[in-house]
């Protein structure tokens, strides 16, 4: 009962933020009618404002929702498989690794020439970071202290950030460009990013849901899970691939956005307990809400100048992390 209420609440909140982002904080005055026309009729009815809504605002809001869903899902998956409530793509360096991959691709240093090369590079970068962190942190050893993985993640994230900076310096010694890589932003997303995101979110989401019951079993204890027939190595591999796809797609579309994967599952755990069959889909929904909200804030904070959404999520997420770290151990 409580769960359904929570689910309904989150979805309503998400819808409300989506609607708000269609017409607020714009240099134009967009009315609700324009927004409606833009959304429903794709701008063919209602004039220029509706057209703008359809071409710019709707893709942006949709992207925000998808990115949030991807990151929320990835966070829930990582927390499930490591049984560590601090696990998340940004804290474990996966986002930084993906960003490094994207930097290498965009500056042309390592650029597979086929379509989808960018997505491949981000997934590859994220994969390398994940493998490094999980091996360094002794992820699978039963005696690992919870914080050790985070330390490994922080070290790898710092390394990836430095390598990203080096890449940009070598190609173009401009301060401005370096900064654009530091924080993900939804300012210039369009239909292309939506096309990239929706298949990845769909595949990743369905796969995650499919893994959910086994994640529940793992959280009872690895031996218990094994005796119940869960293929642990296979589950780890599946979670690995699914998370990489989700994180890779979101970094490829909008750049590195952090903390969403940390915040969403942990908030939900307060109200829903540890059942991954609920935790996973609702993390996706709550993640979407967070990024939609962050995107709105990013336009509101210094209107009409935009702050990158990645910075806003960091400003919200870091204190949350402070609070969690104090309690988690």
């Amino acid at each position: 009962m409580a769960r359904s209420l929570a689910a309904a609440g989150i979805v309503l909140l998400g819808a409300g933020l989506f609607w708000l982002s269609l017409y607020s904080w714009s240099p134009f005055t967009i009315t609700a009618t324009d927004a409606w026309n833009g959304l429903v009729h794709q701008g063919s009815v209602g004039g220029n404002m509706a057209y703008i809504v359809a071409q710019l605002r709707v893709p942006r809001a949709v992207c925000a929702a998808f990115v949030g869903a991807c990151l929320g899902l990835a966070g829930a998956l990582m927390q499930g498989i490591t049984r560590n409530r601090l696990a998340s793509p940004s804290l474990f360096g996966v986002t930084a690794g993906a960003a490094l991959g994207l930097a290498l691709f965009s500056t042309g240093l390592v650029a597979p020439p086929f379509a989808g090369g960018a997505l491949l590079m981000t997934c590859l970068g994220g994969a390398l970071a994940w493998i490094t962190v999980f091996s360094l942190g002794g992820a699978w050893s039963p005696t690992t202290a919870q914080g050790r993985l985070v330390l490994a993640g922080v070290a790898v994230a710092a390394l990836c950030a430095a390598l990203t900076r080096l890449t940009v310096i070598l190609v173009e010694a401009q301060a401005q460009s370096v900064l654009n890589w530091l924080a993900g932003s939804l300012a210039n997303v369009g239909a292309a990013q939506v096309q990239l995101l929706w298949p990845c979110t769909l595949i990743g989401g369905v796969w995650a849901l499919w893994c959910a019951p086994r994640l529940n079993l793992i959280n009872l204890g690895e031996d218990a899970a094994r005796s119940l027939g869960v293929g642990i190595a296979s589950l780890r591999l599946q979670v690995f691939i699914a998370s990489l796809l989700l994180v890779g797609a979101s970094v490829c579309a909008v750049g590195p956005i952090g903390f969403v994967g940390l915040i969403a599952p942990n908030i939900l755990r307060q109200f829903l307990g540890n059942d991954y069959r609920w935790l996973i889909p609702l993390s996706a929904a709550l993640g979407a809400v967070i990024v939609l909200g962050a995107d709105l804030l990013s336009r509101a904070v210094a209107f009409p100048v935009e702050t990158p959404a990645g910075v806003v999520t960091a400003l919200i997420g870091a204190p949350f992390f402070l609070f969690l770290a104090r309690r988690a151990l």
């Binding site: 714009s26 240099p27 134009f28 220029n48 057209y51 703008i52 071409q55 710019l56 605002r57 965009s106 173009e172 010694a173 301060a175 401005q176 460009s177 654009n180 300012a187 210039n188 369009g190 292309a192 009409p304 100048v305 935009e306």
Partner: protein
């Protein structure tokens, strides 16, 4: 036109008269931060920003060294032609003190914004002027040029050149349709930065009688804008400098929303060289900008090449 032609002759006469007086005397000036004393007109000059190179070109002085980001092609072609060869001393943001010292300069001109940390070292090598360059507008750059002219012992020549510059711009202004609204911006692969009325390019455009829309009240000289904000600004003319290709403007121009822009519908979008318009600043650069603007607006040539 006649008046314009006789000014250089007048200036040359003045110069011939005064150069014999000035070149033997020590030069004292204040750059706003420190008092600088030069025992004689400097012969070996090192400059650490493009705008200072421009000022040297205005009075036909060749520096022994310049910070050019390791790429001489970033410098305005007409500046390069006027000056000739120089030795690179590295990045503008981090010039190499070893190279500078090795050149044994007798005058160094550095950027107030970037090279403050180096000042004590530079000052012990040679008398050093700290002048603003980044974030400067047209009038400010002329003031810096005057100071550089004074330091070189070529004040009259610089004053004449600046006067010629003002007249050149006025002449161009007369040929341009008055009050046209022009927006210049620099495009990278994922961002578009608009140069507003307080930026260098913006202030030059205003000096030739064009209107430059402001992104907002209290805007910084350059601001990032999204496509939506660009649509709201809706300038009469849109001039784009591409720092990287393909840039975000290339991507925007493929969207149907691009056609909503008035400038696009009236075929008033054009490409300009980002380096000339944004990175170089100075007397010759302002003339380059003005001439480019004239060619685009008067010729009605407006082509955004894909």
């Amino acid at each position: 036109m006649q008046i314009l032609r006789s000014i250089p002759t007048l200036a040359a006469c003045l110069l011939a008269l005064s150069s014999s007086v000035l070149s033997a005397a020590p030069i004292d000036l204040n750059d706003g931060q420190h008092a600088v004393h030069l025992p004689d007109a400097p012969k070996r000059v090192v400059v650490l920003e493009f705008s200072f190179l421009d000022s040297l070109a205005a009075v036909d002085v060749t520096p022994v060294g310049a910070a050019d980001d390791g790429d001489a092609n970033r410098v305005l072609p007409r500046v390069r032609q006027a000056i000739g060869q120089w030795k690179s001393v590295g990045l503008r943001s981090q010039p190499s003190i070893e190279e500078i010292a090795r050149l044994k300069p007798d005058l160094i001109v550095a950027d107030l914004n970037r090279h403050q940390a180096l000042y004590s070292d530079l000052a012990s090598i040679a008398p050093t002027l700290l002048l603003p360059s980044r974030g400067e507008d047209y009038e400010g750059s002329l003031k810096s040029a005057e100071l550089i002219g004074k330091a070189l012992g070529k004040s009259p020549q610089m004053a004449a050149r600046i006067q010629k510059n003002r007249e050149n711009l006025k002449a161009i202004a007369q040929q341009i349709p008055a009050g046209a609204s022009v927006l210049f911006g620099v495009a990278r692969e994922d961002s578009f930065s608009v140069h507003g009325p307080d930026s260098y390019a913006g202030s030059v455009l205003q000096a030739i009688g064009l209107k430059v829309p402001a992104v907002r009240a209290n805007a910084a000289p350059t601001e990032f804008v999204s496509l939506e904000q660009l649509l709201a600004l809706d300038p009469g003319w849109l001039l784009v400098g591409h720092y990287r290709r393909p840039s975000i403007v290339d991507a925007w121009s493929k969207q149907p929303l691009w056609q909503v822009l008035g400038a696009v519908r009236n075929k008033q979008v054009a490409e300009v060289d980002g380096d000339s318009w944004a990175r170089n600043r100075g007397v010759l650069a302002s003339e380059q900008i003005a001439e480019d603007a004239l060619a685009i607006l008067k010729g009605g040539k407006a082509v955004l090449s894909q």
